[in-house]
């Protein structure tokens, strides 16, 4: 909460933060109302968003990797990010400033995942067809996105780009009111299912013979992961690679048991995004979109991972 374009001394931040509880602290502050509003209306929601979005994206990444039995899967594999991007584009380009892009981003990410699910469920080998359909649906929505960009005005284009690159600066209490509870609920649900993910990461035949209703349980995991990813994406834009890097870091440290991987991914993901956001806000005199930071760290890591994929920690 200390870091930001407007310098507030740390002790004043602390006072401003506690002032609703202890009104006497206000007297010590030079510009009490502005300090308090900066802390409560700008920095606290942003911190909460980074915390929850980091946790949500990492947990959904870890869960989907277990579910798809593939450690290279990320939270956007089901076409979710391209759906969300197109939704945001529609709202920013055609509906103007008055309609919040979050709602239409959320709606279209759900549409994309539903599309993937309906196309894929008819096939025998669900996993492969889900991944394949995810790629196809992504490509389709990317084309639609390009079309929207083509029609966009330069101003709309700029605000669309900042959203596409991941941007936590939109955090305010109004958009958070809906997405924080959704992220919290889904993340807690997936963390509770952490041991079940071990069983779900077995082959379908094995999981079935162990007494698991694989269809329903997989649907539940996909539903929760979609819910939290789209809730995070809707407010924070597309923040790539967290769901891939964080679970892998955790597996390197503690092994593959999802009883540890899932909850620790939540903790590490939250910390990682807060750190990335702090860097994004403070490294330059202007704000760099946080999605750029996560990708700058994420992609070299991904290459390192591919080079080293001798199943050392898997």
């Amino acid at each position: 909460m200390y870091i930001g374009p407007w310098h507030i001394p740390p002790q004043d931040i602390f006072k401003a933060f506690l002032s609703p509880l202890f009104p006497s602290l206000k007297q010590g502050l030079p510009d009490a109302e502005r300090y308090i509003s900066t802390v409560y209306d700008i920095r606290l929601p942003r911190l909460l968003l980074a915390l929850m979005a980091g946790a949500a994206l990492s947990v959904s990444g870890a869960s989907l990797q277990a579910l798809f039995k593939n450690p290279l899967v990320n939270e956007y594999i089901l076409g979710l990010s391209s759906g969300a991007a197109f939704g945001a584009a529609i709202s920013i380009v055609f509906l103007g400033q008055h309609f919040p892009p979050q709602i239409s981003a959320f709606a279209f990410s759900v549409v994309a995942v539903l599309a993937v699910w309906t196309v894929a469920k008819k096939s025998d080998s669900q996993i492969i067809s889900l991944l394949l359909t995810g790629v196809i649906v992504s490509a389709f929505f990317s084309a639609l996105l390009s079309l929207a960009e083509f029609f966009a005005s330069p101003y709309a284009l700029q605000s669309l780009f900042s959203w596409l690159m991941g941007d936590l600066s939109q955090a305010g209490w109004r958009p958070l009111a809906l997405s924080l509870p959704l992220m919290g609920l889904g993340t807690v649900g997936l963390i509770l299912m952490r041991w079940r993910m071990n069983v779900l990461s077995m082959s379908d035949e094995e999981a079935k013979s162990l007494g698991v209703n694989i269809r329903n349980e997989k649907l539940l995991v996909i539903f929760l992961a979609t819910l939290i990813t789209s809730a995070a994406t809707a407010v924070a834009g597309i923040i790539g690679w967290i769901g891939l890097i964080v679970p892998h870091l955790v597996r390197m440290m503690v092994g593959v048991d999802n009883r540890r991987v899932v909850p620790l991914s939540a903790a590490l993901g939250a910390g990682f995004l807060i750190l990335a956001d702090d860097l994004a806000r403070s490294l330059a005199s202007f704000e760099i979109p946080v999605g750029i930071f996560t990708s700058l760290i994420g992609i070299p890591f991904f290459i390192f991972l591919l080079k080293k994929s001798k199943k050392v920690w898997l």
Partner: protein, 252 residues
Amino acid sequence: MSIRIQDLRYGYRNFSLHVQSLAFESAKMTSIVGPNGAGKTTLLKCLSAILPVSKGSVFVDGRDVASMPEEERAKILAYVPQEHSSAFNYTVEDYVLMGRAAYITLFSTPSSSDVRIVQEALEYVGLSRYASRPYFQLSSGERRLVLIARALAQKSDILVLDEPTSFLDPKHETEILDLAKKLAVEKKKTILVTLHNLDLAVKYSDVMVFMKKGILVACGQPDDILTETLLENVYEIKMHIIRYNGRKFIVK
């Protein structure tokens, strides 16, 4: 627990399995033999409801397997696959713990009593010292034992093993089948295995089932049903049966 099959049918493209009637008794070891593509594995998967079977074709103690919920079925019947592959290298203990899935609800994690059951299962198959080793560091013989330990953790009365001895050396073959026999005798479990090694099948089985092209050819105690005519009929090559120490041996 006993299994009864009644007019079981399962088919895909150019193969169809049809077993008119067959029963497996408890505390007995039954081996299913026959050439490749005879439908042995398909039969086991149908019994274990891994492949969808129509209602009214497989009964365990009179209860229809097809209409049982998954977790209930897993408590009475455990299926041991030929091999296991995974993108994640779980430890032996974590792996065997998955056998408890039917007893653990969706949103909870294994309790200390689950862990104790897993330790007992590992001890029974003689792998206690490997509990914290990664699964893929074990040899094929040890991996089979882990798969069996996981099935034991399911605490089911019926154990279905799909070719538990394939790719194993004679020592591990014997070890696995000794273990299966011990489970039938000591723990009164109903054991079903598919085997390719006929001599081992004769040695270990209480009952042998011969299959060919999806159909049951013969069924009974090895000593009673094993003849040269039957072998030639099933495998389409000439084999001889010789007696040594009162046991039948097959010479190709």
